[in-house]
């Protein structure tokens, strides 16, 4: 009588059930970096978005070196001139080169966006993890606080915070961070609630794994997908918010350029010098659009439910 053999050719999986089984069950499929790369390559728009983002990052880091002129170099003889060979984007009312200002302003916009969304991410995810994992009192308390924040229109809340803290780039960052924390908390909590019920979490509890390790090693990696997607989207919206705040004079302060501040400066000259508003505006639109395109592509890879829909439709 042969005992069940350890003979074993190669770990064999049934791809038909492995791929559809996981996806059909709505489980987070292993959306690896390779999958991300594959999806981006097949979507020219998303790839374009990624390139634009990279360009903006380069501008943000090396803007002052790249720009043909300084952000505050004034050329009195060239005030309010349109796009020309010398000044591709024209000049503003003080004779400053708009192209250079747009390039250099990338720094402020991206800095505010990255720092504030980064802070919102850390705070929101932490709160979401605690609320989702521990439930009951912690959940009620945290989510009610988030609901209060949610109740305010984004701009109103941001303005209020800046009004209290005083106008300036730091205040803008704090305001945006506060305003965007609830969405991260909510998304994280929702994912945690479903992952928490997974059998492998119960298995970890049955082994005796301490809570912090369960949260850190089992729950967090499995909720990362939606959080990453939200991050890319929020980065885009944060730029808009910063632009709005600066437009209102509440964010980045002169003489530091930001796209929003440039729009503010341009408002009196829209008829005479359209280029003062259009180019910073385009920069905003392009950047936000790029973040959205990349975010959509990431969602298709990392969000398990969307993945199922796409696989069923036969799309890559």
């Amino acid at each position: 009588m042969t005992t069940p053999s350890a003979q074993f050719t190669e770990p064999v999986a049934d791809p038909a059930t492995a791929a559809t089984g996981d996806a059909a069950a709505g489980r987070p499929s292993a959306g690896s970096a390779r999958d991300v790369a594959r999806v981006l390559v097949r979507r020219p728009l998303a790839l374009g978005g990624l390139l634009v983002i990279c360009l903006m990052v380069v501008l943000a880091l090396f803007g002052t070196q790249i720009a043909p002129n300084g952000e505050n170099d004034v050329d009195v003889s060239q005030m309010l001139t349109g796009p020309s060979a010398k000044h591709w984007f024209g000049t503003d009312e003080l004779g400053r080169d708009v192209l250079s200002r747009v390039i250099i302003a990338a720094h402020a916009s991206l800095e505010v966006s990255v720092v504030s969304v980064g802070a919102a991410l850390v705070a929101g995810v932490l709160l979401g993890l605690l609320a989702g994992y521990y439930g009951r009192f912690a959940d009620s308390f945290i989510m009610r606080c988030m609901d209060v924040l949610f109740a305010f229109p984004v701009m109103l809340l941001a303005i209020a915070i800046v009004a209290v803290l005083g106008a300036g780039i730091s205040s803008a960052m704090i305001a945006i961070a506060v305003v965007y924390t609830p969405i991260f908390a909510r998304i994280t909590r929702a994912s945690v609630l479903s992952v928490r019920e997974e059998v492998y979490v119960r298995a970890a509890v049955s082994i005796g794994v301490p809570d912090r390790e369960i949260i850190g090693r089992h729950i967090l990696p499995n909720v990362a997908g939606p959080i990453i997607v939200q991050t890319s989207l929020s980065l885009g919206f944060a730029i808009l918010t910063e632009a709005a705040l600066s437009f209102l004079g509440l964010g980045v302060q002169p003489p530091q350029p930001s796209w929003g501040a440039m729009l503010y400066d341009a408002r009196g000259f829209v008829e005479q010098a359209w280029w003062m508003a259009v180019f910073p505006g385009l920069a905003i639109v392009l950047t936000v659009l790029s973040f959205n395109l990349v975010g959509d592509a990431l969602r298709d890879v990392l969000d398990p439910r969307r993945r199922t829909q796409l696989e069923a439709a036969g799309r890559p």
Partner: protein, 282 residues
């Protein structure tokens, strides 16, 4: 019902577990386990059999305090763990391990097999250093009949039977005194079920393991168990040596359950239908 001979690894007395349930009439307490008592002696397999909703799974979970008893006691190795606070439960969970029904969902998809098997070793500090832990993982893989290179793979790369072997390896990692197996065969193909049953018996012989084997499949229970406890609606209605319970069932529910075991062959099935037909017309 007490276990014959050997020292008692687990003893449950008048265990009750209830859950709040929200109905249209408001909140209610449902007693999933309603006064259950049994013992498991070292080296034996106690089969806990019942249909869905009988409370057998909940009973198994209570032994690890994965659900909290609302009344009664749970004693593991003589110690009353019923009311142990959370921080002491880690020690309990080294002594009692669990194998879950669905091997796919009981393994974290984001971690390798080796990582999952190593987790209990790491959590309880059973080996010093990464190399020693890895060696133990390989030892466990060999014991359950998996090759060493499986450690680097992820759950989705393995078949159902292989995944369940991983689940068993993980349960063995801490050298527990009791392993609770909750429907370990239910999600597996028939041919693989036989493999796993053979593996479990083999490991029990080699390592002197003690099992609480929870299932609804009467044939599997008969094959695996030394003693059997029959459960329905939160109660145990009959306990005894497996052979005795199957051949001379005392309780009516046991008899109903045994009668429902499907026929092995078509001829047998026809005979039963004919008998039933005769009985109802008689």
């Amino acid at each position: 019902m007490s276990a014959p001979g050997g020292d008692v690894v687990a003893a449950v007395e008048d265990l009750q577990v209830q859950f709040p349930v929200r109905t249209s009439a408001g909140k209610r307490e449902v007693r999933a386990v309603d006064g259950v008592s049994f013992e498991v002696a070292r080296g034996e397999t106690l089969g806990l059999v019942g249909e869905s909703g009988s409370g057998k799974t909940t009973t198994g979970l209570a032994l690890l305090r994965l659900v909290n008893p609302s009344a009664g006691t749970v004693r593991i190795l003589g110690e009353d763990v019923t009311s142990w606070p959370r921080r002491r439960l880690r020690a309990l969970r080294r002594r009692v391990a669990m194998v879950f029904q669905d091997p796919q969902s009981s393994l974290d998809p984001r971690h390798s097999i080796g990582w999952s098997i190593e987790e209990p070793i790491r959590v309880h500090g059973l080996r010093d250093g990464a190399a020693a832990r890895r060696a133990r993982v390989h030892e466990l893989l060999e014991q359950v009949g998996l090759p060493a290179d499986a450690a680097a793979r992820h759950p989705h790369e393995l078949s159902g039977g292989q995944r369940q072997r991983v689940g068993i390896a993980r349960a063995l990692a801490g050298q527990p005194d009791l392993i609770v197996l909750d429907e370990p065969l239910a999600s597996l193909d028939v041919s693989v079920q036989a493999q796993i049953m053979n593996l479990l018996r083999q490991l029990q012989d080699e390592l002197g393991l003690t099992y609480l084997f929870i299932a609804h499949d009467l044939a599997a229970i008969a094959h695996m168990s030394d003693r059997v406890a029959v459960m329905t609606s939160g109660h145990i209605v009959e306990t005894g040596p497996a052979v005795q319970v199957y051949e001379h069932p005392q309780h009516e529910y046991t008899r109903t359950l045994l009668a429902a075991i499907p026929a092995d062959t078509p001829a047998e099935a026809r005979r039963r239908r004919a008998d039933a037909g005769q009985r109802s017309s008689a």
